[in-house]
């Protein structure tokens, strides 16, 4: 009885990735947002970006809102680390223009509508 209780308590404690509580995770997220926000004017200059500053800010907000519902601290840490990796690549100009424009690309290709596109796609 006591052993199962201790096992259950041990299973509830998971090894953290970076943050130990919600407050720390929240700080990391807000810092990442601030870093990206400050980088946007330089992105527009470095990449000769076709989008405007407001569009970039909207897209940044959208990307953060996508994961608004996440509660698990380890998942939040992982997302922050991925965001930081993207930021590093963007700052050092290891990405190219198409890499950044991918944020605006649809994730699903549109289905072919006219006959020839359907034929070339191999419709059933």
């Amino acid at each position: 009885m006591a052993s199962t209780r201790t096992i259950r308590a041990a299973a509830r404690q998971v090894k953290p990735i970076l943050s130990v509580d919600q407050g720390e995770a929240r700080k990391r997220v807000l810092n990442l947002y601030k870093a990206w926000y400050r980088q946007i004017p330089y992105i527009l200059i470095d990449y000769d970006f076709p989008k405007s500053k407001e569009q970039c800010r909207e897209k940044l907000r959208e990307e953060f809102e996508k994961h608004r519902h996440v509660q698990d601290i380890r998942v939040i840490d992982m997302l922050v680390i991925k965001g930081q990796m993207e930021l590093k690549e963007t700052v050092e100009i290891w990405k190219q223009k198409h890499g950044l424009m991918a944020y605006w690309r649809d994730s699903v290709d549109p289905k072919p509508k006219d006959f020839l596109s359907k034929f070339l796609d191999g419709h059933d």
Partner: protein, 149 residues
């Protein structure tokens, strides 16, 4: 030609309207273009720095205007009114960002960043998360700039 454009650019910092009236009709398109771009950059800065640039005519080597509590309040409220997610009718000195104005934490980060840009000094995260009303921001800036309350 280069010296003419340089003097015009310097003069544009002081009195853009006067310079535009003085520019001769024979001026090249390129020269006019530098004037309009300089003028548009001037209109982007805050009211206060525009006024000091117009009146002083002397270079200010990162010197700041003498701040008073009232001036800080005006600047903070102006920045908040210009923020498009804030409803200017609901804005008051003691209105809470999250509860009264309906901003979320990312908007709050943007507001704090705007304040950092306005007053020219970094606000660390520990302090920033406590600044939830314009009154708090005004008091914080006054503390940092050593303005007597």
């Amino acid at each position: 030609m280069a010296s003419l454009s340089r003097t015009l650019r310097f003069a544009a910092l002081i009195r853009p309207s006067a310079v535009l009236s003085v520019v001769p009709r024979a001026a090249t398109v390129g020269c006019l273009h530098t004037l309009t771009s300089r003028e548009s950059r001037l209109s982007n800065t805050t009211l206060l720095s525009a006024i000091t640039k117009a009146t002083s005519g002397v270079r200010s080597y990162s010197a700041k205007e003498p701040l008073t509590l009232d001036l800080i309040q005006q600047r903070v409220m102006l920045v908040l009114k210009l923020y498009d997610k804030v409803n200017p009718d609901k804005l008051a000195v003691d209105s809470h960002f999250m509860q009264d104005l309906g901003l979320d934490s990312l908007d709050h980060v943007e507001v704090i960043m705007a304040m950092e840009d306005e007053f020219g000094f970094e606000i660390p995260d520990g302090d920033a998360e406590k600044l939830l009303r314009p009154a708090d921001i005004i008091r914080y800036v006054a503390d940092k700039e050593d303005i007597y309350e």
